[in-house]
């Protein structure tokens, strides 16, 4: 048995043709509801739309009794089922980690099918390929599933309209669904969905070409603000996260992991640990061999009757480690090596025109270096997972962004076939990319199999900080040439950083296209001579992805350097950005070996639009108090166009704060206005945390920090007043979870320059300038 063998997963950035991967099919759900609607209502919680619960009077109910009923649940679509009462269950198959997807995608289905939201129950899916892609990342959930959810809803609506037409002997075109009823045009005939189920369930499911989707003016829920379905549970302590599952006979585990990645246990003494009351077993995990993928790190586990005994005894283990080849990692020395690397030529990744010639003939030149350190995810819920590996069945409960990767993991460890494995998805106490990597689930599976009981593995905060998949560390060198008029004629961007791909392939030493494609090789500036060069860098820790991924540092360097160009040219920064962007046009991404995504062409006019909008709304150029400054940055990411204006206030002692942030976001059709705004409010706090404090350092291959005292986050009272300006659009919807983050740090750096004349070229900024 091995924890080491299971398929390499698909990364969330590698967008596949997933939107239509699943055809409507008739299947019954084999899992339980995670939202108890009855509890929700009993507690008198506020509902989004104020109509009566069952949407019908007593008289109507009596009428219902005479209509034929369905004997069991009817599932016209893999995401939609009805019970005999006419209550609709809509499956949320993506991971809910604070972005509101468990509300927003089901609301799209409900809108298209004309369901009354008060008669909708949202059910969290298990990890199952029948739902299509479930790897929740890359801000992709709405991008990938908006159309599919509309089709699911429209398909059910058509079935119900056809059933009414058949029942009444009228044409389908005369029947239309409205809020859980079908009504007949030209008569007063009307039937609740419940009364139509028996007939509808006998009809063939329509194909997508038979469907008529709503026009935007017909939307009821799309483009509005929908309250999240877990509101009551989240405010009453009944929402279930990764460590909240309780089953009889379960055990709790904590693990002493190798302090250096790919380190091994040389020997250990468990005497003191075993003496702790409640400790059941001490188990050594297999050592991790490259590639890391989502495998367990190895180490020694304590399995106990409660979390406290496990954590206490874990700290009493005496383990001697063989730290291996990564023990030489020193992030201070590595920083110098990366900076040296970007002072030298690297491998060409984009080469328009002739940079060298243009630079040689430039009237003036400008260059700057940028550095950004490793970051941790620091989600409030550290990794935790429970697994129950039995002889005939294997079950997992986990906060996961990638449940289908856990199916393969569970089958590999349990030796059971897929149909004997169930992956239950809890809510995620935030994730930011960390919980797409199921090493903690791997640990729970291994330990459950070893001890023959359900085992909940609980990571401490220190475990989370010291055993993460870190956002990479980077150095960048930017260089431009300007002609006599000040126009930029040559642009060169050199980068060096360990690649995410190193986690999957130890031979991957250079930044990958999917990383450089986050703003660098697809730079939309209209400059004749552009060269991008990337250098190799060894990964000495597991490299992962963090909310906004490489755009965090790439957008920082590009936008901060653009501001330096504005200053060199004597141009207003907004004017400068618009001039660099050039005339409105569509960028052909295929030129750079990237994919032109259907429905999501990269249009520079939309980036111009958010720059102009944010400048207007933020009052760009307005009078400011002494010590204050405004900065701007704009970034296209995750198919969305985002721009930020930040106001900074700098004290005489160099202390600083951010009184105000304005975001302009063009994400096409907005699905849930409130959640899109909430994501940008969160992006401001996230962006401020990383710009002010975000930094993990490594010495002798070990992470130096451990908890919120030395790896700080923005607290209450430091949060900026955030204004979110959404572009009104019915274009294809695009990502909203990540795009607010990238423009934050550079807009802040540019604001600090405006306030003080000091350039920020390294993150984090720290608490004083």
């Amino acid at each position: 048995m091995s924890t080491q063998e299971y398929p390499v997963p698909v990364l969330p950035f590698e967008r596949k043709a997933i939107a239509k991967a699943v055809n409507p099919e008739v299947t019954a759900f084999n899992h339980t509801r995670s939202v108890s609607r009855r509890d929700f209502l009993k507690a008198g919680s506020v509902l989004v739309i104020g109509v009566s619960l069952f949407g019908c009077s007593e008289g109507e109910r009596e009428q219902v009794a005479e209509t034929p009923a369905i004997s069991g649940p009817w599932t016209p679509d893999v995401y939609v089922s009805f019970d005999a009462e006419g209550t609709v269950t809509i499956v949320s198959h993506r991971s809910e980690m604070g972005q509101g997807i468990k509300t927003s995608l089901p609301a799209v289905v409900a809108d298209e099918m004309e369901a009354d939201w008060n008669r909708v129950v949202v059910e969290q899916a298990t990890g199952d390929k029948k739902f299509g892609d479930q790897s929740t990342g890359g801000s992709l959930s709405v991008i990938s599933f908006f159309q599919r959810m509309r089709e699911a809803g429209a398909s059910v609506r058509l079935l119900l309209e056809q059933a009414a037409a058949q029942q009444w002997g009228v044409a389908v075109s005369e029947c239309s669904a409205q809020q859980h009823k079908v009504v007949h045009k030209g008569s007063d005939k009307s039937a609740d969905f419940r009364e139509l189920l028996a007939v509808a369930s006998q009809l063939p499911v329509p194909t997508p070409d038979q469907l008529t989707l709503k026009t935007p003016d017909q939307y009821r829920y799309i483009g509005k603000s929908m309250r999240i379905v877990d509101m009551h549970e989240m405010t009453h302590g009944t929402a279930r996260y990764g460590a909240d599952i309780r089953v009889p006979g379960m055990k709790f585990a904590a693990i002493a992991r190798p302090p250096v990645v790919f380190g091994k246990v040389k020997s250990y003494d468990a005497t003191k640990a075993l003496a702790v009351k409640g400790v059941q077993a001490v188990v050594e995990l297999p050592a991790l061999e490259p590639p890391a993928v989502y495998k367990a790190l190895g180490g020694v586990a304590v399995v106990a009757d409660n979390s406290w005994a496990a954590l206490k005894a874990r700290d009493l283990l005496s383990v001697e480690w063989d730290n291996g080849a990564n023990a030489d990692y020193d992030s201070g020395r590595f920083k110098q090596a990366l900076l040296e690397a970007v002072r030298q030529p690297g491998a060409n990744q984009r080469n328009d025109g002739n940079f060298d010639e243009a630079q040689a003939s430039a009237a003036s030149t400008l260059e700057a270096e940028y550095y950004a350190p490793h970051l941790g995810h620091m989600m409030m819920e550290p990794p935790a997972a429970m697994a129950d590996v039995r002889a005939d069945f294997c079950e997992v409960w986990a906060p996961t962004q990638d449940p289908q990767s856990l199916v393969g993991m569970a089958t590999a460890i349990s030796g059971l076939p897929e149909d004997k494995v169930r992956i239950n998805m809890s809510l995620l106490g935030s994730a930011f990319g960390r919980k797409g990597k199921g090493d903690y689930v791997n640990e729970a599976l291994f330990l459950s199999k070893e001890v023959g009981a359900p085992v909940l593995v609980q990571w401490s905060r220190e475990d989370e900080v010291r055993h993460g998949y870190y956002h990479t560390v980077s150095a960048q060198h930017l260089s431009v040439g300007l002609d006599e008029s000040g126009k930029v004629t040559a642009w060169r961007h050199r980068l060096a950083y360990p690649s995410i791909m190193s986690t999957f392939n130890p031979a991957a030493k250079a930044p990958a296209k999917l990383e450089l494609g986050q703003g660098v090789i697809n730079l939309p500036y209209e400059i004749d001579n552009i060269r991008v060069e990337a250098s190799e860098a060894d990964a000495k820790v597991r490299i992962g992805w963090l909310r906004s991924v490489c755009t965090i540092f790439q957008s920082f360097a590009i936008n901060a350097f653009s501001d330096e160009i504005a200053h060199a040219r004597g141009l207003d920064p907004v004017e400068n950005l618009l001039e660099l962007l050039g005339p409105d046009r569509t960028i052909d991404l295929a030129r750079f070996g990237m994919e032109n995504k259907e429905g999501h062409p990269f249009q520079t006019g939309r980036l111009r639009g958010v720059i102009e909008l944010v400048a207007e709304k933020a009052g760009w150029g307005r009078e400011l108090p002494a010590g204050h400054g405004l900065g701007i940055a704009a970034q296209y990411s995750f198919d969305t166009y985002a721009a930020a204006v930040i106001e900074v206030a700098v004290g005489e002692d160099g202390s600083w704060r951010v009184p105000r942030v304005d975001f302009a976001i063009d994400c096409g059709q907005v699905v849930n206005v409130d959640r899109v705004k909430a994501q940008q409010e969160g992006a401001a706090v996230f962006g401020l945390s990383l710009a002010r404090y975000g930094k993990l350092t490594m010495s002798n291959g070990r992470v130096d920090q451990g908890n919120f005292n030395d790896s700080r986050l923005v607290r209450f009272g430091m949060d900026p007043e955030t204004h979110v300006h959404l572009v009104d659009s019915h274009l294809a919807p695009s990502g909203v979870g990540e795009p607010g983050v990238p423009p934050f740090a550079p807009a802040l750096a540019n604001a600090i320059f405006a306030a003080t004349g000091k350039r920020i070229r390294e993150l984090p900024i720290g608490i004083r300038i």
């Binding site: 877990d230 405010t235 279930r240 819920e381």
Partner: protein
Amino acid sequence: MITLKVNGESRQFDGDGDMPLLWYLRDELALTGTKYSCGKGLCGSCTVHLNGSAVRSCVMTMAAVDGAEVTTIEGLGANEMHPLQVAWAENDVPQCGYCQPGQIMQAASLLAQNPSPDDKQIEDTMQGVICRCGTYSRIRKAIKSAAGGAS
């Protein structure tokens, strides 16, 4: 033997007196609404009321709570919704929701002691509870609206 009241019910505990209250609530009583996040009293996710005052249950040992009355998030709105729970919904505060029990318990303790806190008092109290999703501005609005409703 340690005796205490949790959400009005009398309880007895004869285990490790060093066990933090957090793990007793979660593992022994299955009251999992109180969340673990830092284990060092640094983030406030585990905040409960001990004899009416907000404390970090992750650093409060069982030995130290002998004879105490403990209220958790499950006990806060057990009979009718606390004004903060209503305000939290009306202001659409939570994102991932994980820290919110701690936020609500901290705010409830503040309002119990000071029904009309000013901005500085709110900030001084709430800065102890971290929200990584960044819901602070809505927490502020919700506390003010609950305080306004109460006064």
